[in-house]
């Protein structure tokens, strides 16, 4: 053993170790520059990985239209919204200049704007970005009377039902009616009630449809009896015969699988499940699409908005070109492609009557109404804290206590706002 460590060989070992360490460090430095192959400045678009190829086509279109001014490069983020956010937030907090355009989940606007991580859209550019967009998506891109992103795709949930088993739901169909009916038939209602962002979506839609909200326009906590009403419905479903197996762990895809297995009559979910149903022979024609169920028969539903907006990273080295590239990406043609290839709804109103969109999303008229009247999730910089507090208060669905939920939620939201443990 000492022979190796004696004399020159010590230096040899140390040198080898150092070289190895440097190589490892260099290799570990995250995203490697992939071949951009184009001309002009490279603009990097950080956005979730869309498996249908819609974003690739949008990028190709824009790179062609740019005529050499810039080349957009696709940086794929995870599909899980929580993971996307964690990754982007860490980079932005470290003032990463690599991020030019961000495909922002609609819930990030306030947080990113308040932290100074994205650039505001102003003047004529802001007008162009909002031009023709539905009211719902417009709201999600704004914070404190400033526009922070260009609305690109949008989405809300719908009620999918088995046409071959149950009658078409009347326009004032309520959650209570649906739960009673499904329980009697011994069939399930598929929802998303795992403790994650999707559960917040459901709760937010229930509270908004009951006429309430979690925070007011100024970002102050405003929890009232509508939260108790939401808890009532959740508990009623969770403790009824219509509760799907494993309800407290189910996410979007579990709901889709459950519905496809035939165990359920109803499902609330996003439009992607409709495209997915086409893969099972003869299944898609059995699926009916209706507006999201009401909480109160007299009030139309107000459903949580999803989708992505295009924001410009505050530390981008080419902000001007990034704005131009983002505007190009959000153009109507690319929204149509996003519908065709990814099943994502447009944000521009007229596109809902576009024949190409109608072909893939035959319920586009229900969609545009719901998106127009859709509600953003609480618009506040501490959104992720608030969402966690909501999930913790309402979970598990069969154990939520409607009589305690209001005070419990207020208490947790207060702690979240003060930056404390809840």
């Amino acid at each position: 053993m000492p022979a190796v460590l004696r004399g020159r060989s010590i230096r040899g070992v140390v040198t080898t170790a150092l070289v190895a360490a440097l190589v490892l460090a260099a290799a570990g430095c995250g995203f490697s520059e992939s071949t951009s192959g184009g001309r002009g400045k490279t603009i990097k678009w950080y956005v979730f990985n869309e498996p249908g190829g819609a974003f690739e086509q949008a990028i190709a279109t824009c790179n062609k239209q740019a005529g050499g001014k810039y080349t957009i490069q696709y940086v794929r983020l995870p599909t899980d919204a929580d993971q996307q956010r964690e990754l982007v937030v860490r980079r932005l907090a470290a003032k990463d200049s690599d991020i030019d355009i961000i495909g922002m989940d609609v819930i990030w606007t306030a947080e990113f704007a308040e932290a100074g991580w994205i650039k505001p859209w102003t003047g004529a550019r802001a007008q162009r970005a909002l031009n023709g967009k539905l009211k719902g998506p417009q709201l999600t891109a704004q914070y404190k009377n400033t526009l922070w992103a260009d609305p690109f795709t949008s989405n809300t949930q719908f009620l999918f039902y088995r046409k071959d088993r149950v009658p078409k739901p009347p326009p004032d169909f309520t959650w209570d009616q649906m739960i009673d009916q499904a329980s009697q038939r011994g069939k399930a209602i598929e929802v998303q009630a795992a403790r994650y962002e999707g559960y917040t979506v459901w709760i937010n839609s229930l509270i908004a449809s009951a006429g309430g909200s979690i925070v007011d326009e100024n970002g102050n906590v405003k929890v009232d009896q509508t939260a108790a009403r939401a808890a009532q419905i959740i508990k009623k479903l969770a403790t009824s015969k219509a509760a799907p197996p494993g309800m407290s762990n189910n996410k979007e895809d579990d709901a889709r699988l459950g519905f496809e297995s035939g165990r359920s009559d109803y499902q609330t979910n996003y439009s992607f499940i409709y495209a997915s149903a086409a893969k099972i022979k003869g299944f898609q024609p059995k699926i009916g699409v209706a507006p999201w169920p009401r909480v109160d028969a007299s009030k139309p539903p107000r459903v949580t908005l999803g989708g992505i907006n295009l924001g410009i990273g505050a530390y981008s080295k080419n902000p001007e070109l990034s704005f131009q590239a983002a505007e190009c990406l959000a153009q109507p043609e690319n929204q149509v492609v996003a519908s065709e290839k990814g099943g994502l709804a447009p944000s521009t109103g007229v596109l809902f009557s576009n024949p190409r969109v109608k072909k893939v999303l035959p319920f586009a008229d229900i969609m545009s109404t719901q998106i127009e009247n859709g509600v953003p999730r609480p618009v506040t910089p501490a959104y992720s804290d608030i969402s966690q507090a909501i999930q913790k208060t309402f979970h598990p669905p069969d154990g939520v206590d409607p009589s305690k939920v209001v005070s419990d939620l207020r208490d947790k939201l207060k702690k979240a706002a003060e930056g404390k443990i809840f």
Binding site: R90, P245, S248, N249, A382, D398
Partner: protein, 298 residues
């Protein structure tokens, strides 16, 4: 004479220090610095989203964490998982170690087969277990004696059960390996002698094997307890802390990574660090005292 020896001893001591210096420096850089930085951060109010509000707040992050019921619930949950999984692993690990020790034919294949679970990435293993118990797609509910509507991951007790099972399945091989090393220390002559004196199998196991293996058992328990206390992957995959199964590591992750509250999150991490030190001290000081004696005798 005495002076000369001390001089030489000092010389050797110096050489020893020089030899360990590189690793000490590396350890200080890669472990010491982050630990000190985490302690520094834990004394600040520092949320990445509101960088302008950063200020020194002393111990208030700690009082906040220690004063919240969430922290103590999470400590309790972590203890439940730790105690249950380590206890089961010790018993199973010992049985497996005995099998591996006694295996006459096919030693290699037997050991390799037992080690397979340990070679699987924890996240992958956790997903496999989650899918197995999923009421829609899993096979568990189709097993005999299991109710067709069972959904263990829907309740607190059930979630704990599945998490502990996953941990046990995954790390029993590690425990078995450490214990096997301990078994090899027990001289066969002692067993022979005891057998001649008429000691039964049980007597030999409890009077000879276990006492002589004590150091190995304590090391195995220490390693596994420290690991289990920081359990993250399987809980994250199974429940993400739902059904009141949140562990201290999940809490730290949520505050630090999701809420990007570096001050509060660092306080949680530092508290976990201190808890781990306490556990290690308990093992070394309380249980380890007689270990040193044992090894001295052997």
């Amino acid at each position: 004479m005495a002076d000369k020896v001390t001089g030489r001893a000092r010389e050797e001591r110096r050489l020893a220090w020089m030899l360990v210096a590189p690793s000490v420096i590396v350890m200080v850089l890669v472990t010491g610095y982050p630990v000190v930085y985490a302690i520094y951060l834990s004394l600040q109010k520092y949320d990445l989203r509101f960088p302008n509000d950063k200020k020194f707040v002393g111990l208030s992050n700690y009082t906040d964490v220690l004063g919240s019921s969430t922290w103590w619930t999470d400590v309790f949950n972590t203890m439940v998982i730790t105690v249950c999984s380590v206890a089961i692993e010790l018993v199973l690990g010992m049985l497996i170690a005995l099998v591996m020790h006694r295996a006459i034919f096919g030693r290699g294949p037997v050991r390799a087969a037992i080690l397979i679970p340990y070679g699987i990435v924890t996240v992958v293993a956790a997903f496999a277990w989650r899918y197995a118990f999923n009421p829609g797609t899993g096979f568990v509910q189709h097993l005999p004696l299991v109710s067709g509507t069972a959904n263990p991951l829907g309740s607190r007790g059930g979630s704990f059960l599945v998490i502990v099972l996953t941990e046990v399945w995954k790390t029993t091989p590690f425990m078995a390996l450490l214990l096997l090393a301990g078994l090899a220390l027990v001289p066969d002559e002692l067993h022979e002698a005891a057998r001649v004196d008429g000691a039964s199998v049980m007597q030999r196991f409890f009077r000879i094997t276990i006492p002589l293996m004590r150091p190995a058992i304590i090391v195995a328990l220490l390693f596994r307890t420290l690991d289990a206390f920081r359990v993250f992957d399987s809980v994250f995959i199974m429940t993400r802390g739902a059904n009141d199964t949140e562990t201290v590591s999940i809490l730290g992750y949520n505050v630090l990574i999701n809420r990007v509250n570096l001050g509060l999150g660092s306080a949680v991490s530092v508290l976990i660090f201190f808890a781990v030190i306490l556990i290690a001290m308990f093992f070394v000081k309380v249980l380890g005292a007689s270990t040193a004696q044992q090894t001295g005798e052997a």
